[in-house]
């Protein structure tokens, strides 16, 4: 698939930003669900969407989706701290729920699965309007066992809706390996049952992710219906920061660390002569500085006052 250097660098930048955010948030929030090692899936999937496209991200990587769509970093981090300057003024957390003004559908309760239906409904609205936008629904391997997931895929296929389903398959759900929770060999194998194309891809290869997602998006825009992409990666970190219970073999974790998606992509960019190491280092520094500045601002931002509770603001 043809791609220009700008796309390559944008993808790198989004991966580097994801990594920098992950590190900075882990320092202040013990409940942060880190995504070290999964950057290629989220950057590859969330880069290159059009403003009219609707995204229901997996919660792990939701901030990357928001950044990829142009949300303001300081406001997002303020949302993590519940500050008055956040997109919802402190009413709700930003780490699992992005601002809807960027066409993001988040978790509005803690339950995984329902957003797949909302994405399907967004695609339905898109189709009813005759637009050529698409809905992108991303979910974990664990979430793929929810009835909502199966039902959304079947309905999207039955109604030929423009949805792209991407499994951010980090091969584990809290403590349950995908091999225990997902009955078929691959999540992609399920596509046959829903009558849509299924693609199993290397989720640590950002270009494989980006190309496959873009291909599925093009298909959906043409009106040819949904696709299912199983992007296989690995949760290098714990389920959340202060989760130190680890039952996986250390060699397995090390093997995946050695396939770090950012390191892989750096090597590719340098080998292809797109950029040299020094300039990559500058991107890294710029991104870290941006995160640090946004975090400092967010921390200094005011807490919400009692008015934010908005007792008369539940109904529209």
């Amino acid at each position: 698939m043809p791609r220009d250097n700008q796309t390559l660098l944008d993808l790198y930048r989004l991966m580097a930003l994801t990594r920098a955010l992950d590190g900075a948030i882990a320092e202040i929030d013990g409940h942060w669900h880190g995504l070290e090692g999964e950057e290629a899936v989220v950057a590859g999937a969330y880069h290159g969407l059009r403003p009219g496209d609707v995204v229901a991200p997996h919660y792990r990587g939701s901030l990357t989706a928001a950044c990829g769509r142009g949300a303001d970093l300081r406001k997002l981090l303020a949302g993590l701290l519940g500050k008055a300057t956040s997109y919802n003024r402190g009413r709700y957390r930003s780490d699992v729920c992005g601002p809807p003004e960027f066409n993001l559908i988040g978790l509005y309760s803690g339950a995984l699965g329902p957003p797949l239906a909302y994405a399907t409904g967004a695609a339905l609205a898109i189709k009813l309007d005759g637009r050529d936008d698409v809905a992108l629904a991303v979910f974990g391997d664990g979430t793929s066992s929810r009835g909502d997931c199966h039902e959304a895929m079947n309905m999207a296929s039955a109604l030929c809706l423009p949805v792209v389903f991407v499994c951010q398959n980090n091969q584990i759900a809290i403590s349950t390996p995908a091999s225990d929770g997902v009955a078929p060999r691959s999540v992609a194998d399920r596509a046959v049952g829903y009558g849509m194309p299924g693609h199993e891809i290397d989720g640590n290869d950002v270009l494989a992710v980006h190309d496959t997602v873009q291909m599925a998006i093009a298909r959906a825009r043409r009106g040819d219906g949904p696709s299912l992409i199983d992007a296989v990666t690995y949760r290098v970190a714990g389920h959340f920061v202060s989760d130190t219970v680890e039952d996986r073999p250390p060699e397995e974790i090390e093997r995946w660390r050695a396939r770090d998606p950012i390191a892989l992509f750096r090597r590719y960019l340098v080998e292809q002569g797109v950029i040299d190491d020094g300039d990559l280092g500058e991107i890294d520094q710029a991104v870290s500085a941006e995160v640090a500045a946004a975090m400092a601002q967010a921390k200094a931002d005011p807490d919400p006052g009692p008015d934010v509770l908005g007792l008369d603001r539940v109904f529209a």
Partner: protein, 325 residues
């Protein structure tokens, strides 16, 4: 006697019942070797895992709760760990609408002896706080239990497991690891539907469950300095509700405050209020007061969350209002 946390006492009850009755088994997400989120099943895998009685499930709530109903219909006594009460909406059909109706609609031929347990409540775990237990009060055929301390948790869990009906067992995260208390070694079953007077008093009855019991007790201590003698009645189970205990107390004090963590509109507190209005109106010396969160989703910022959830001051204020009326 042992000193145990709410979590430890609850797990001890489950382990003892699993030893006692081979038909008892437990299933849910990450409850095996991992021990369950917040240690909800710690140690069960080691003791019962090899027998296949501690079952890790995929993230398929509707189906594993439904499978619990199906296994119970076959005579098993499943305990299903739903992880969080926030997921009640995913299972209320299987557990409540169908599970709760089966005994009645089959004219007594089908029994559904199962327990669904779930963590909830505002607490140290910043999330999954919603208290939706009141929904279940409007479903016939299911019991609802909400203990306030480790000893009650143990005795009530045992009763729930031995009960022949679907029982929903609520485990408050603000109480879960919040200190150890004496818990008896013996069978110590606490029958469902028996309230407990956690503090005797003469001036006003405060009815509560779970975390609100703790807050009501703290309020009572403060009110003692004002010369107000508060009785704190812990319902322990919402269904069946110990109506007699509520009425007896209110008839004596003549005043009622109900504290509840579910939002005020449609909350289980209203059940207590209706009961007293119907049965003991003439004994009331003041209007009834409810203390409950406003009808908004649980807000995220800790300060907003504090405003949202009634604390001991809110309960004390309500008591003072009722005393002044």
């Amino acid at each position: 006697m042992a000193r145990q946390t709410f979590q430890q006492a609850t797990v001890a009850a489950i382990a003892e019942e699993m030893r006692r009755d081979p038909d008892v088994f437990i299933m849910g997400e990450d409850i095996g070797k991992f021990g369950g989120p917040l240690h909800s099943c710690l140690g069960l895998w080691e003791e019962f895992g090899a027998e296949g009685r501690v079952i890790d499930t995929p993230i398929s709530e509707g189906t594993f709760v439904g499978a619990g109903v199906g296994a119970a219909m076959q005579g098993k006594r499943p305990i299903v760990d739903l992880m969080f009460l926030e997921f009640l909406g995913l299972v209320v059909h299987q557990f409540g609408l169908d599970g709760g109706a089966m005994h009645y609609y089959s004219d007594g031929k089908v029994k559904v002896p199962m327990v669904v347990r779930a963590k909830y409540g505002v607490g140290p775990f910043h999330g999954h706080a919603y208290d939706f237990h009141s929904w279940l009060l409007n479903v016939p055929g299911v019991k609802v239990v909400a203990p306030s301390n480790p000893a009650d948790a143990k005795g009530l869990m045992k009763a729930a497991i031995r009960d022949d009906n679907p029982v929903f067992f609520l485990e408050h995260m603000g109480l879960y690891h919040a200190g150890r208390e004496e818990v008896g070694d013996g069978d110590g079953v606490i029958p469902l539907g028996q309230a407990d007077i956690k503090r005797a008093g003469n001036d006003v009855t405060v009815v509560a469950t779970a975390l609100m019991v703790k807050r009501a007790l703290a309020a009572a201590e403060r009110l003692r300095n004002d010369g107000i003698d508060v009785e704190v009645l812990d319902l322990r189970s919402l269904v069946p509700m110990d109506e007699q205990a509520v009425l007896t107390s209110v008839r004596r004090t003549g005043r009622l405050v109900v504290a509840c963590e579910a939002i005020k509109r449609g909350g289980s507190a209203n059940e207590v209020v209706s009961l007293v209005a119907e049965e003991a109106f003439a004994d009331l010396r003041a209007p009834i007061a409810r203390v409950a969160p406003p009808s908004v989703p649980v807000p995220y910022h800790r300060e907003l969350e504090k405003l949202y959830l009634p604390d001991h001051d809110d309960i004390a204020d309500a008591v003072r209002r009722v005393m002044a009326a």
